[in-house]
């Protein structure tokens, strides 16, 4: 029988392009002095437990119905056998962020350390950045009506701490670190050459890398 009717891929197809053997590692620009924050996500260590989602909601005070980050769970098939694929989703903190280009009022910007932030007080809630994001990583906050996205818990990073999701990941799937530091845990994990970014064809140069993404196809 045909099972085509059951498949409802996401509109923008987050896995598109990753199943082909793309460039091993589109490294972001590392010209700036000082840290450049990024994340390496080891999919094999993710259990889809959503502890990161919960930590994010509580730490950032967002509506639980519209979290900034969460783990998407997909059913996929490998050699005809059904398998489960998990994908922690958060702002990809692109070096070439389409959301920043789309904002009519300059409310979205990238900090020197690479973190993309939204200045909520300046946001008109037009939604242009939400529509421009190839990763569906932004949404309008249902309560304030302003654009909202993961900012790597910039308030914690600035206090010398780790993002809430990283602190709470039981499996240690989320590795946060300085991509400008060749000895950082994130760079050591990327040294295997297995790191992939989502939708490389969008040319956004994300600072979030995934290990084990190729196995989904």
């Amino acid at each position: 029988m045909s099972t085509d009717q059951r498949f409802t891929p996401t509109r923008r197809g987050l896995f598109r392009g990753v199943s082909s053997a793309g460039p091993a590692l589109p490294r972001p620009a590392v010209g700036e002095a000082g840290p450049r924050w990024g994340m390496v996500i080891d999919l094999a260590r993710c259990t889809g437990c959503q502890a990161c989602t919960a930590a994010c909601v509580v730490e950032n005070g967002t509506d639980p119905a519209a979290p900034r980050s969460s783990v998407a769970v997909y059913e996929t098939g490998v050699d005809g056998l059904p398998r489960i694929a998990v994908l922690p989703r958060l702002c990809q903190h692109c070096a070439e962020a389409p959301c920043i280009a789309a904002c009519p009022v300059g409310a979205s910007r990238r900090r020197r350390d690479g973190i993309v932030v939204v200045e909520a007080a300046a946001c008109t809630g037009c939604g242009d950045c939400v529509r421009a994001c190839p990763y569906e990583s932004r949404r309008l906050d249902p309560r304030s009506g302003t654009a909202d996205a993961c900012d790597f818990c910039a308030h914690r990073v600035d206090a010398g701490l780790l993002p809430a999701c990283v602190e709470m990941c039981p499996g240690g799937a989320l590795v946060f670190g300085d991509l400008n530091d060749p000895m950082s845990a994130a760079n050591r994990r990327l040294a295997t050459g297995q790191g992939r970014t989502l939708r490389p064809e969008a040319d956004t140069l994300p600072l979030v890398f995934y290990l084990g993404l190729g196995s989904t196809g």
Partner: protein, 961 residues
């Protein structure tokens, strides 16, 4: 590669108001084009059409800005679009600038063409006088007319392009701008047709027919440009309108006009609405705005011709008509903007605000600056059986728990856990990003611990003891004082007007075998106190409702049989995730539903074994029977729905891996299955908790305490007291209810598996009126004069816990006294009086050292392997209903499954003729549940899966549309 998204909320892409903006801008520019021949160039045959076109252009043009405002989620900040647009390439900012300019040009253009009509207004009414004034003399102003005509034309065109560009992410065809332009013109023609009929019939049938045909031609062109599917509503409206316009051009002006307008709207609506997952009342608001403005402009300005003094009857009819239209339009606007009005009535809420960090850690020097507004309390996580260590961030000023994370000193929450010698200040540094220390030392909880709701001030919280009024289970209660409660429970009497009830004092003297029983929901770190009371009381039984699932140590395991669609919560989930990813462990996920217990990224380290719901125990027993030295055979393969070879494979894997093999379960298990899983682990050599004691024999009891029972105990005993923070299921069997404290408001002492001793202390003050189990039993004990509760032995229930914790602190090797810094950072000043009173000047500082770290974890675990009676477990039979003709499916109830979803295997659904997304009904003998059908391949044949709700796992079921 095909992927089905199983769980994700889609973000909102568009607000539907963008369809309104595109529609109104198109209509306005289209109307302006129609206004040109008659109004700008004075072509006589076009006079009527052009007047109506101008009316449409003005009304739609004025309606567009409110809709554009509505398209912003924060319209109050529209000014920023002008103030901060510098350097922006945004089309939104461009449109925001073009729109007022276009409107100004259009209005001045209209004024120049209407000046003569304004001047010709007759009568003495205010309106007529105002019109004569507004005419400013009534000249033609040909140069101004030309100038504003070109300006309005150019700005209108630019604005249409701007709107089309803003809609760029939604384009379904490269020809979309042309399609928008063509339908805009057609829409304006349609509006003119409708207005022509409204304004009093065809004065020039030939022209109208010509326009209807024109609209038809334009629509056919639009259909070709649109490249939309032939069954889209927009295309159907376009085709129908074109057909009618060609066949009866002059006779069906109404219908053709409305259909053309609808087509123009639907083309834009399709673009936006297919991309948004919510649809607001945008069509209503747009229509309302248009009607009001059409009525208003027609009434106030002489677009349809100079104002003539008319007969009273005619004028009245006209006024009623216009007022009616305006009323309907205003009502529509009210409905459409209701949500926005409500938000502003509340005051637009602030954007999400992050918590203040608990400390600052200098990444270079490592200097820790704690946030004095908060303290971190280490207690036991109350979310499940495992007793992980929780770290509460509490706000000092409010006493509110801000966030719950893992305790870095606790071996179940951190690996490696910090040794007790580390200070709390250094623990901040260990968890920080300095030297990336926090990655290795991260202290975690599962999602259940992370989102424990703030129940302290929950409105349903009990704040006074209750006594039932009327029959038991009637749900009527009267508040009573604590003293009255204790006196009645202890002394008994004719408490409810139903006859004599024996109190605890009389029962104790009655030489009964078990006069008093305690039924506890589950071990919670406080049961030791209840046992202490029962020991002093003598002749009582204490029984636990729920027994912990097997908790083998997986830190060395390399083969794990997982019963569940998700992995067990941490620590087991954490251990599996880490070892499996490192290639050190293989899991076989035995469940009817394939869920994230599997993970394609670990490749062959994980395998799915579909088994029928409720057969976990059957499979575990079958594996044991097939292990070497036992030659049991049974019909387990048929019951579980698995191949015989798979069971044999599991048995040989367990035999081959020995102590490195284990089984774990995610969901709650029935007692028989839990015993079978524990027996399998015992056979593999893992220590385990004792098997559940026999159920509480309530028939012999004269009094019963139901404490924290979350499932209905269904008992009938002469005197029943329920203890809980809320009116729970146990209350329906109770005579009295005692308000209990919540976990973070209570003392506790947990002997968790593989975790040393976890301690809890009231890190948060209980609300007034929360008596607590301990104070209630303490008061009862004092009233009965129980020996261990005399003033000399125990002067405060808290002292019971404090002394146990102090003993823990002085056990060899003895721990040091707490430092002032640790004491302050842990927030222990809250309980200093209790500690000092119970332990004296020296002792309390050692106990506080333990409390600050959430327990003591360096003492040897004395939980050895418990001798498991395996033979009786093996002898148990699997009692699982086989599928029948009436009930062809088995129900799988899975927590974490999205509510409202009913999942079936795609082939099962096809056999039933059911489609993906269809509304279906799941019937069981115990009740039914409805939901939306989701077709899966990762689901066992013959199984229907739903989220946790009223229905129980493994029920027989049938599925119908």
């Amino acid at each position: 590669m095909n992927l089905t998204l199983l769980d994700l909320a889609q973000p909102v892409g568009w607000t539907p108001w963008w369809a309104a903006v595109a529609f109104l801008v198109g209509l306005s520019v289209g109307g302006f084009v129609l206004a040109l021949p008659g109004r700008a160039f004075g072509m006589p045959r076009w006079q009527r059409v052009s007047r109506l076109g101008l009316l449409v252009a003005l009304a739609a043009g004025i309606s567009a800005p409110p809709c554009m405002l509505a398209a912003l989620a924060r319209p109050d900040r529209v000014g920023l679009l002008y103030a901060r647009a510098e350097g922006s390439s945004s089309w939104l900012a461009t449109c925001a600038t073009l729109m007022p300019a276009y409107l100004a040009a259009l209005t001045v253009f209209a004024w120049t063409t209407l000046r003569r009509d304004l001047a010709a207004a007759e009568g003495r009414g205010v309106l007529a006088r105002l019109q004569r004034v507004a005419s400013l003399g009534g000249g033609g102003a040909p140069r101004l007319r030309m100038l504003t005509m070109f300006a309005a034309g150019g700005l209108g065109l630019a604005m249409m392009l701007g709107v089309a560009a803003e809609l760029r992410p939604a384009w379904n065809s490269a020809l979309l701008p042309w399609h928008l332009a063509v339908t805009a013109l057609a829409g304006a023609l349609g509006a003119v047709l409708v207005l022509d009929r409204l304004a009093g019939g065809v004065r020039d049938a030939g022209t109208m027919a010509l326009f209807a045909r024109g609209a038809a031609g334009v629509l056919v062109l639009g259909m070709m440009l649109g490249r939309e599917s032939w069954h889209s509503p927009a295309v159907i409206a376009e085709g129908l309108a074109a057909l009618l316009a060609l066949v009866w051009p002059a006779r069906l002006g109404w219908l053709v006009g409305l259909l053309v307008i609808a087509a123009c709207w639907l083309v834009r609506w399709n673009l936006v609405a297919t991309d948004a997952d919510w649809t607001g009342p945008a069509p209503l608001g747009t229509a309302g705005l248009l009607v009001v403005l059409l009525a208003g402009i027609a009434a106030l300005a002489p677009v349809l011709g100079p104002r003539r003094a008319e007969g009273t009857k005619h004028a009245l009819r006209r006024r009623v008509l216009l007022a009616g239209a305006a009323g309907v339009g205003l009502a529509a606007i009210g409905v459409a903007f209701r949500d926005m009005a409500r938000r502003y009535a509340r005051g637009a809420e602030a954007a999400p605000r992050a918590l203040a960090p608990e400390a600052r850690v200098d990444p270079v020097t490592g200097v820790v600056t704690p946030n004095v507004g908060q303290y971190v309390a280490h207690v036991a996580c109350p979310a499940c059986f495992f007793t992980c260590g929780a770290r509460l961030r509490v706000e000092r000023a409010s006493g509110r728990v801000l966030r719950i994370t893992g305790n870095p000193f606790h071996p179940l929450s951190a690996d490696p856990a910090l040794p007790a010698s580390v200070t709390l200040r250094d623990a901040f540094a260990a968890l920080s990003r300095r030297h990336e220390s926090g990655l290795a030392h991260r202290a975690t909880l599962c999602v259940r611990g992370a989102v424990l709701p703030p129940l302290r001030d929950d409105p349903g919280r009990l704040r006074t003891p209750l006594k039932r009024v009327g029959a038991r289970g009637g749900g009527r209660w009267a508040p009573i004082a604590v003293e009255t409660l204790v006196r009645e429970v202890v002394e008994g009497g004719d408490l409810f007007g139903e006859g004599q009830v024996e109190g605890l004092r009389a029962l104790r003297g009655a030489a009964l075998e078990t006069p008093l029983g305690v039924l506890v929901g589950r071990e919670n770190g406080r049961t030791a106190f209840a046992r202490f009371f029962m020991h002093a009381y003598g002749g009582g039984a204490i029984t636990v409702q729920h027994i912990a699932p097997p908790v083998p140590d997986l830190r060395e395991a390399d083969f794990v049989l997982v019963f569940g669609s998700t992995l067990p919560d941490q620590p087991l989930g954490r251990q599996i995730a880490e070892r499996r990813a490192a290639g050190q462990m293989v899991t076989v996920v035995a469940d009817a539903v394939l869920g994230p217990a599997d993970n394609v990224a670990v490749g062959a380290q994980s395998r799915w074994l579909p088994i029928r719901p409720g057969t976990e125990g059957v499979l575990a027993r079958a594996v044991m029977r097939r292990m070497p030295g036992r030659d049991g055979t049974d019909n387990a393969a048929a019951i579980c729905g698995v191949a015989e070879a798979d069971i044999a494979g599991l048995a040989s894997a367990f035999a081959a891996h020995g102590k490195r093999a284990a089984c774990v379960a995610t969901g709650p298990l029935d007692a028989g299955s839990a015993a079978a899983l524990q027996a399998l682990n015992a056979l593999a050599g893992h220590p385990g908790p004792a098997l559940p004691a026999e159920a509480l024999a309530t028939d012999r009891l004269k009094a019963l305490l139901l404490w924290g029972c979350d499932t209905d105990p269904a008992v009938s005993v002469p005197l029943v007291v329920a203890i809980g923070p809320f009116l729970d299921v146990a209350a329906r069997h109770a005579d009295y209810v005692v308000p209990d404290t919540l976990p973070f408001e209570s003392w506790g002492w947990h002997n968790g598996p593989g975790a040393g001793v976890t301690t809890s202390w009231p890190a948060v003050a209980p609300p007034g009126g929360a008596v607590g189990m301990e104070r209630f039993l303490f008061a009862c004990a004092r009233a009965i004069d129980l020996p261990d509760f005399s003033a000399e032995t125990l002067d405060d229930p808290a002292a019971f816990y404090v002394r146990v914790i102090a003993a823990l602190a002085v056990a060899s090797p003895a721990l040091p006294e707490i430092s002032e810094d640790d004491f302050a950072l842990a927030g222990l000043d809250r309980i200093r009086p209790v500690l000092e009173a119970s332990l004296g000047e020296r002792g309390w500082r050692k106990a506080a050292f333990v409390l600050a770290r959430g327990g003591r974890f360096d003492l040897a675990d004395d939980a050895g392997p418990v001798a498991q009676p395996i033979e009786p477990v093996l002898a148990a039979a699997g009692a699982v209903a086989a599928p029948s003709a009436a009930w062809p499916f088995v129900l799988a109830v899975r927590a974490g499954f999205r509510p409202g979803v009913v999942a079936l295997h795609a082939e099962d659904a096809a056999a039933l003729g059911l489609r993906n997304g269809q509304a279906v009904k799941v019937e069981t003998p115990a009740g039914l549940q409805t939901g939306r059908l989701e077709l899966r391949l990762g689901l066992m044949h013959g199984v229907v899966a739903v989220s946790s709700g009223a229905l129980r796992d493994a029920l027989p079921a049938r599925v119908t549309a």
